[in-house]
């Protein structure tokens, strides 16, 4: 029995070196000790709630009163929740438009400030500065900015672009694109910074080689920068898509879901189920659904990312 023999020689070796063993054990005890606060926080405030949310989704769970098991009611009633179905369509539309515009603008900004030259640091700071403002504060800022007291109407009318004041949040499309404008203002610099880290990882020799081969600016961008930037762009897309699918602050604060409930995001419906209708079970079921979709999406995106490398 080679297996038994192996174990007994290992045992003999361990017995011959008791100091080693206790050292290893002491090391693992210390490691456990130092990581204990992390384990407690992750366990109590992340893993436990993660299990609980699944259990809640299987119960009739009101904010007051004791829960009763009702699986699968919270899930089977989702297709009847017209508000949620509408919010899925709206959130997907918002995600698609935002991601395309935001990525394009961030890429242009990153390319424009990637090279060191006098004053470029000031530009970077200016583009990023909105990112230091909280998202809720930014939404409130633009609530005033887009209002009748805001500066846009008079600027556009002075320039002769508009004849009369525009109701920036008044129609479904105006509200959507005004919100996207605010989101781009707030996050373009953030995405630019992500792309800059990727751009700066490209060795300058590669560019020099391209230049000595007589490559044009467009060719350099198309055949060198873009392929080498692919994984950074993928990272930016993952962050942007995930963030947009979970949109809340911008629609809760800036458009308040209006006009006429046309800008209600998925997370807003979850919030409403839980804290306006006090039906935590239903909110939990929608949350679990959202979690599953996002995990699947993340796995697919990571797969694609892995294949490209």
């Amino acid at each position: 029995m080679s297996l038994g023999g192996g174990v007994s020689t290992a045992q003999a070796r361990l017995e011959r070196r008791p100091a080693r063993l206790s050292l290893a054990r002491r090391e693992s005890l210390k490691g456990l000790g130092y990581s204990a606060p992390t384990a407690v926080i992750v366990g109590v405030f992340f893993l436990l709630p993660l299990v609980l949310v699944v259990w809640m989704s299987m119960n009739r769970w009101r904010i007051l009163g004791s829960p009763t098991f009702n699986f699968p009611d919270n899930y089977t009633k989702i297709p009847d929740n017209q508000l949620f179905l509408d919010s899925v369509t709206f959130t997907l539309k918002y995600t698609a438009i935002t991601t395309v515009l935001l990525s394009g603008i961030a890429l242009a900004l990153a390319l424009s400030v990637q090279n060191q030259r006098p004053g470029v640091g000031l530009f970077r700071t200016a583009y990023f500065l909105p990112g230091a403002v909280g998202f809720a504060a930014a939404s409130l800022l633009f609530y005033g900015f887009y209002s009748q007291t805001g500066p846009l109407d008079s600027i556009l009318m002075d320039l002769g672009i508009a004849d009369e004041p525009i109701n920036w949040l008044g129609t479904p499309n105006a509200a959507l694109f005004s919100t996207i404008g605010m989101v781009i203002w707030r996050f373009a610099g953030f995405n630019m910074l992500i792309l800059l880290t990727g751009l700066q990882a490209i060795p300058t020799e590669v560019y020099e080689a391209a230049r000595s081969d007589g490559a044009s600016r467009w060719q350099t961008f198309r055949y060198i920068t873009l392929p080498l930037l692919r994984s950074t762009i993928a990272l930016m897309l993952v962050i942007s898509i995930t963030g947009s699918l979970l949109a809340f602050d911008q629609f809760f604060i800036l458009t308040r879901g209006g006009p006429d409930g046309t800008t209600v995001s998925m997370v807003m419906v979850i919030f409403r189920e839980g804290f306006t209708r006090f039906d935590l079970g239903s909110a939990a079921a929608l949350s679990v659904l959202l979690l599953v979709v996002l995990v699947v999406l993340n796995v697919i995106q990571l797969r694609v990312l892995g294949r490209e490398r």
């Binding site: 609980l52 909105p130 230091a132 909280g134 504060a137 005033g144 500066p151 990272l235």
Partner: protein
């Protein structure tokens, strides 16, 4: 060519700074019926300061949550990062993966059960409970950052101290913490910006007006204004929220950018 570059850059910079500058201007500008009847002054700020429990309460609440979150995140991630970088222990990989998995789970999905969990812990409607939740949301970035920071420190630095009879804890406290200071500043800055500004977690976890943080309080102020909305007071509230972050970012910009470089290594 050069002129074109700088003109475009300057125009874009103005475009990005304009809404903030406008907000600042509007917060001082007078409007009939507002706190500042005419001219320019602090009238909108005093009007806003009188709202609800008074701005002082909300400022103290927000500062308390931010302080607890920053200190807690630094403490947990410095110890945890040290453990992940220097020790072998059972469950190490699993704990690291579980911590990173926090990034994958939607905010709402975890906050709904947390509302129930905090209730059982006697931490409902509590600033301490809110801070513990914020620390949890900071951990993926903080642990990742601190583990990398400790790994970048040569082992010889602490081995000399350990040979001299220091315990691992005093080696950490006296020598290593100084070596990973830049990482700690980055982690602290991210924790501050997140906790000062967060809206969704306090909206769900806090129920009493006297516990509200600034973002929730200012949004509530707008919701409760009947008839004409007082935009001057609103923008004054926005400025109180935004200014500390803008100043802190300008001072610690270098440390902020390092957070991105560290994050991008993962991607």
């Amino acid at each position: 060519m050069k002129l074109g570059y700088y003109t475009t850059g300057a125009a874009l910079s103005i475009l990005f700074l304009f809404p903030l500058l406008w907000g600042g201007y509007e917060s001082f500008r007078g409007q009939p019926g507002s706190g500042q009847e005419s001219g320019f002054g602090f009238g909108n700020y005093t009007r806003m300061a009188d709202y609800g429990e008074g701005i002082a309460t909300y400022l103290i609440n927000t500062a308390a949550v931010s302080a607890m979150t920053v200190v807690g995140t630094l403490l947990v991630s410095a110890l945890g990062g040290y453990a992940f970088a220097r020790f072998r222990f059972p469950g190490k990989e699993a704990l690291f993966l579980a911590t990173l998995a926090i990034l994958m789970v939607p905010y709402a999905t975890i906050l709904i059960p947390l509302y129930v969990v905090l209730g059982h812990l006697g931490l409902q409607n509590s600033l301490v409970g809110l801070s513990l939740v914020m620390i949890m949301f900071q951990l993926p970035f903080a642990i990742f950052m601190m583990r990398n920071s400790f790994e970048a420190v040569p082992r010889e630095l602490e081995e000399a101290a350990l040979v001299d009879g220091c315990t691992t804890f005093s080696a950490l406290r006296r020598i290593l913490l100084r070596a990973v200071r830049p990482g700690l500043i980055t982690v602290g800055l991210f924790a501050f910006l997140a906790s000062w500004n967060d809206f969704f977690a306090p909206l769900i976890l806090l129920s009493d007006g006297d516990k509200f943080t600034l973002p929730v309080a200012v949004v509530a102020m707008r919701e409760r204004s009947f008839g004409a909305i007082d935009y001057g007071a609103l923008e004054a509230g926005v400025m109180v929220m935004a200014l500390p972050c803008v100043i802190l970012f300008l001072v610690l910009q270098r440390h902020y950018v390092r957070g991105f470089t560290a994050g991008a290594l993962r991607g």
